[in-house]
């Protein structure tokens, strides 16, 4: 059952990713990306990461992608302009795909799959376990991230402010 769900979710994620790069209307690319996010959240759920599952949908599908849609709706339904290709583009992309597949193949050699050690599946992936990790072991990076976000927010306000003499 879980394997069937995994393959469906994985197929949807890959198809969505192909859609992101191959649609010509930006809005369809964005919707494909939303599909990828939803498929990824299902895969998180299969890994028993319930909290990450919910947060993946709330943050990525519910907030980040909505802003993308917002911008596209605001700029109008323009199609992507210009279908001009670079010279040798097809050949180069073929080579890149081969190199990428080769890299993946080499990396996957010798990987051994096993169950994680002594995991309490009633606790793993719950809000409580993630909160304990965030506020004990990873407190410093967690706080550092919040400072980065603060800097970004202040920067955005600074860039979009109106000067007094402009008014």
């Amino acid at each position: 059952m879980a394997i069937a769900v995994f393959f469906v979710a994985a197929a949807v994620a890959v198809l969505g990713a192909v859609g992101v790069v191959s649609f010509h209307q930006p809005i369809r690319s964005v919707l494909s990306l939303v599909l990828v996010m939803l498929a990824l959240s299902v895969i998180f759920l299969l890994l028993s990461a319930q909290f990450i599952f919910a947060v993946q949908i709330i943050i990525y599908a519910g907030a980040v992608m909505v802003l993308f849609v917002f911008v596209i709706a605001l700029l109008g339904p323009a199609r992507e302009l210009g279908r001009g290709r670079l010279r040798y583009q097809g050949w180069l992309s073929g080579i890149f795909v081969l190199v990428m597949l080769g890299l993946m193949w080499t990396l996957l050699q010798g990987v051994q799959y096993r169950q994680p050690d002594k995991t309490d599946m009633n606790f793993f992936g719950t809000v409580q376990s993630i909160a304990i990790g965030l506020f004990t072991t990873y407190l410093y990076p967690f706080e550092l991230t919040s400072i980065i976000l603060l800097v970004a927010a202040i920067g955005a306000i600074y860039l979009s402010r109106k000067r007094i003499d402009d008014l």
């Binding site: 959240s41 909290f51 947060v55 709330i58 907030a63």
Partner: protein, 336 residues
């Protein structure tokens, strides 16, 4: 019963039957919420409301449904047809999905639920955050400037009020120590002689206030119905929709009203506990009262201006919700 439920096939039978039942109950409830709102609004505005079709106008919804189903399904020219058709279905799907994790007390010690998950309330937030796509995409795909403006307003509004909605509930989780809706309903206290379930509104009244205001904004209802403000935007994102697709938006809106009312009952009013009243009856009474509160709000408050709406969300509700979290944390630490 328990053996049957743990058996793999039995489990699926139970889940499928439960889903079918839920679909029937919730759809019927939605239809009668519309009737209830029209009658209540009529009384508030000193007019009779629907009273012609069937006894007390109860068949009005059936008549409206038939009318809408037989209307021409119109698709405007030069639009993105796929997205135009997809948008209302996203809204209905998101509205129904929230009911997966909502538990309902049927009888003493018998509780109904489809999925009893550890992160229940977060899943409700997750699926209801998808609702914004229905409105933005509907506005975008209609190829109409009023629709587009309605959709964009809605996106900004929903994102702004989602924050305070989430933060308003944090004190509840901190008190109960769980995000599972059943745990929140079954939260019990032992205060002196009293031992039993406690409606959490007693402990977080400010959280409830912020929840009601933000939930009204999230469901796009007056006084926050800016996305479809008819005096400014004709019908907002609904302008170009008719027939069954319009019905789907309508269905989603009323479904969301029922969902937020049910959530308020579960989170703040002790769910199905009311002295010795049979649980399902107590639950129904509380939900109907909560729905009436929403209708009452719609009947009495004028619509906010757009900048006021944003100011209320960001400068009043959000700081208040944050202060509520901090104060609750301090009190909890002091008590323990």
């Amino acid at each position: 019963m328990n053996d049957f439920y743990n058996n793999a096939i039995g489990h699926w039978v139970v889940v499928v039957v439960a889903m079918a039942l839920l679909l029937f109950v919730v759809l019927t409830a939605t239809a009668y919420t519309v009737w209830f709102e029209r009658v209540a609004l009529g009384r508030i505005q000193r007019r009779p409301g629907p009273n012609r079709v069937g006894p007390a106008g109860l068949m009005q919804l059936a008549a409206d449904g038939v009318k809408l189903a037989f209307k021409e399904s119109f698709i405007p020219e030069k639009t993105d047809r796929v997205i135009y058709v997809l948008a209302p279905t996203i809204g209905v799907a998101a509205a129904f999905l929230a009911w997966v994790v909502i538990p309902i007390g049927l009888w003493y010690n018998v509780t109904y639920w489809i999925a009893d998950v550890n992160v229940g309330i977060l899943i409700i937030f997750a699926v209801s955050s998808l609702n914004v796509y229905a409105i933005v995409l509907g506005g975008y795909a209609s190829n109409n400037k009023y629709s587009l403006l309605g959709g964009l307003r809605s996106a900004a509004q929903l994102i702004s009020y989602e924050m305070s909605l989430g933060l308003a509930l944090v004190p509840t989780f901190m008190i109960v120590g769980s995000l599972r809706l059943r745990d929140i309903v079954e939260y019990t206290v032992s205060w002196g002689p009293y031992h039993g379930p406690l409606p959490l509104i007693i402990l977080t009244p400010i959280g409830f206030l912020i929840y009601v205001i933000s939930a009204t904004a999230e469901t796009n209802r007056t006084p926050f119905d800016l996305p479809e403000a008819e005096q400014e935007l004709i019908g907002g994102f609904l302008t170009e929709y008719s027939g069954l697709k319009f019905t789907m938006y309508y269905l989603a809106e009323y479904l969301n009203v029922i969902t937020v009312s049910t959530l308020a009952v579960l989170l703040f009013f002790g769910g199905w506990y009311l002295w010795s009243v049979p649980p399902v009856l107590a639950f129904l009474i509380k939900v109907v009262i909560m729905i009436f509160v929403y209708i009452w709000l719609r009947g009495t408050f004028p619509r906010l201006r757009y900048d006021r709406l944003m100011r209320l969300g960001w400068k009043v509700l959000l700081p208040l919700a944050m202060a509520n979290v901090v104060v609750t944390a301090i009190v909890l630490v002091a008590v323990s």
